[in-house]
Symmetry: C2
Subunit: 446 residues, 2 copies
């Protein structure tokens, strides 16, 4: 079977980790990966967890070679709204040079490029590799990597490695190889504002009772100052300034100018923290976002009530120097000290993760930059990722290895949305890049 047909086979598994009815599909997908990796000569197994299996595979250990752990995930996001897909999300179709399917970019296409890269190296070198390889492929990334965290601690010796390779981040633009050396962290919370014991008639009681929605709006408004800075006391403690070389580099990243960001997102103008560009804010500044809000009557027409309660879901993206637990404590203190009269507030902490950053110019980092340049014929841009992959920071803490993030997710890959796709050409380049990278990493003195 050719490479693309194999990828299509992998994409046909509806391995949606969030939906119970797909548990068997997730498991079948893990088994298929084990078969594939075993067939290449690796020692592979699917490890049971409380939810979905973790696939671990390793090449026969050769002394004197560095060990590279390649991380990826074979689970995918749900497909709703399925009616917006132009072809079946689990029946891959190539159109205009792109393969369309759920998981095409996130993350099956990218992880499979690494698998085929390793297979090609094994074929070329009589079953040997320039490095020792460990594949660590989880089935719960889209639902929070709940099992992997413990698995890494339980298998820290087997997973011991010199460096981690991940292709699950963004590529600034087509033909722009992108090396990510940082990730933002995450903190979250839910705020519930409670007023009267039941919804009240706004005529019978309006004027005498605090409105929970208005109270919640006041709290939300207190979160930012007029300069777009988060107004929570202590929020920026420990945040390091952006380096001069980073500001220079980021000013040149394709697609990341303020004008391009505005066009891409469909807004008239970007709105940033005062003194920073959009790219700087996304890559290296913390945020406090309101992800959702609800309260009172939301249906057709009107219903004249004072609602009994209202809620907002908030989350913060964090940068190095901030700790999720501390940020959640600061948020709670802020909210508790901004409760308007006549209502009470419940503050529910969410789940968090630390930010991550590594030196892009370490020996490993330079090897990654060179591999990208060789595979794509252009110097890579160096960015930090605005998103969060908390498990990367956990692996750093437990395994002591940094992660080289060589993402191939294009801005229009439509991950988590209908019509997810991955360019066939990029898939090929990814296979090449994986081989070049492993060869270069193999040359580093161990």
């Amino acid at each position: 079977m050719n490479r693309l047909d194999q990828l299509a086979t992998l994409l046909r598994f509806p391995s949606i980790s969030a939906q119970k009815e797909h548990a068997q599909d997730v498991s079948d997908c893990a088994d298929w990966l084990v078969d594939k990796l075993s067939g290449m000569g690796l020692e592979a197994a699917a490890h049971k967890t409380r939810l979905h299996p973790i696939v671990m595979a390793r090449s026969p250990r050769e002394e004197g070679k560095p060990t590279v752990l390649i991380y990826g995930h074979y689970d995918v996001q749900p497909v709703d709204p399925v009616e917006l897909w132009e072809s079946d999300p689990f029946e891959p179709e190539v159109r205009d040079g792109k393969i369309y399917a759920r998981g095409a970019t996130d993350n099956k296409g990218q992880l499979f490029a690494h698998i085929l890269g390793v297979e090609e190296l094994l074929r070329q070198n009589g079953g040997h590799l320039p490095v020792n390889v460990i594949f660590l492929l989880e089935g719960e990334e889209e639902v929070g990597s709940g099992s992997l965290s413990q698995f890494i601690k339980d298998h820290r010796d087997e997973l011991a490695c010199d460096v981690i390779v991940v292709s699950d981040t963004g590529m600034a633009a087509p033909d722009t190889p992108t090396f990510s050396y940082g990730l933002r962290g995450l903190a979250g919370a839910e705020i519930i504002v409670k007023g009267p014991s039941a919804d009240l008639h706004s005529g019978v009681f309006g004027g005498a009772v605090a409105n929970p929605i208005a109270a919640l709006a006041e709290i939300i408004t207190s979160f930012h100052d007029e300069d777009g800075r988060v107004a929570v006391r202590g929020f920026y403690d420990g945040v390091e300034p952006i380096a001069t070389w980073e500001r220079s580099m980021w000013a040149t990243v394709p697609g990341m100018s303020n004008e391009e960001l505005a066009k891409l997102t469909g807004v008239e103008t970007v709105v940033t923290e005062s003194g920073f560009t959009g790219a700087e804010c996304i890559f290296a500044r913390p945020t406090l976002e309101i992800n959702g809000i609800g309260g009172g009557y939301q249906g057709e027409g009107s219903k004249t009530i004072i609602p009994s309660h209202a809620f907002a879901k908030i989350s913060c993206r964090l940068v190095p120097g901030q700790q999720p637990e501390k940020i959640e404590t600061l948020l709670e203190e802020h909210v508790k000290s901004h409760v308007p009269r006549g209502v009470t507030v419940e503050f529910k902490r969410g789940h968090g993760g630390n930010a991550y950053v590594c030196d892009p110019n370490s020996e490993f980092g330079l090897a990654a930059q060179q591999a990208l340049e060789e595979a794509f014929g252009r110097k890579p841009v160096l960015v930090r990722e605005g998103g969060s992959i908390p498990i990367i920071e956990e692996m750093k803490r437990v395994l002591g290895a940094d992660a080289l993030m060589l993402g191939m997710c294009l801005p229009d890959a439509r991950i988590h949305s209908p019509n997810e796709n991955f360019p066939v050409d990029l898939f090929s380049k990814g296979i090449d890049m994986s081989q070049i990278l492993l060869r270069r990493l193999g040359q580093i003195k161990h």
Copy 2:
């Protein structure tokens, strides 16, 4: 059939005006009322409209007697959540001296007390009444009285009257006869804040794009100042001060102290416009309430997005001197001048109605006060209603007659909620009160 059995028959019609599947039930209920009123010797008919019938009935006209129009509505609210009812909402059941059914208080119980009051007078006086009576009973009150507005204009001559009687307002407390001489008006709007063209990943874009929920919260927060006053320019123009006698009277209304209001609504403290009691704010001060809000992710757990849009439904209760159209214009101007950067705002006007107030000490008003005192054995309290019945103000404009609002809706009648009820004893007193009132009105020189 005794009085209560007749009321039970009326309550058995599931005349839910908002639900298409009950259109025939609404119509059947109108026919039953026509039969009842015809049987009493009135000339009665159900008039077709674009939605639900309007029942009009009149006593044979006798010269020299004042004409009293008794208004009521025979349609009812939906019954959801039906599982919270202790007995079938359309199979009336008497428990602890109260009859439980949808519509028991609002408004079938109250309007039927007037019908039986008229029947009793006719019986006692050989088919004559102390006044000429017109019954005007609509089937669309719970859905906005859409047909009645035009009907009144089309039948202004037939509906010509000296005074209107309505029992569809509140009774401050059990055994506290309550005469309402005012109603608040209503203005409404929906605000839609639009940001990015689709929900965005809060990691990939967070920091560079204005958050529509935060923007909406800012707009909402701008609606009030720190004294609880509406901060919309011109909002209070034309609002008249509360009279000294009103402040004195309202300070004594049972159940309306700040402490009682807090207890009744389940809040720690009432929150009012600075300088006014809760009762004063409810009876005679305008408000701006947020009735509902929605945006972004509202489900279980979290979803880290910047939502594409957010909306809020707002409504104002108005007092004499304010016009709904003008208030909506002021609101729109306020919103348009408070749009945060990076978002756009759509402002949708709602439906409004004028406030209403009449002189409680007019000849008719004094007759009403006396009737209440005689029927209940206590002097009535004089209040304005915090709620709105826009059709009352329309009838005043078209027919030139004031409305005597003699409400029997108790604070725990649970109108619009599960387990709506009406005390059997209050039903009897209502029948008495109707007779006394019509006799007293008949004594007024015409």
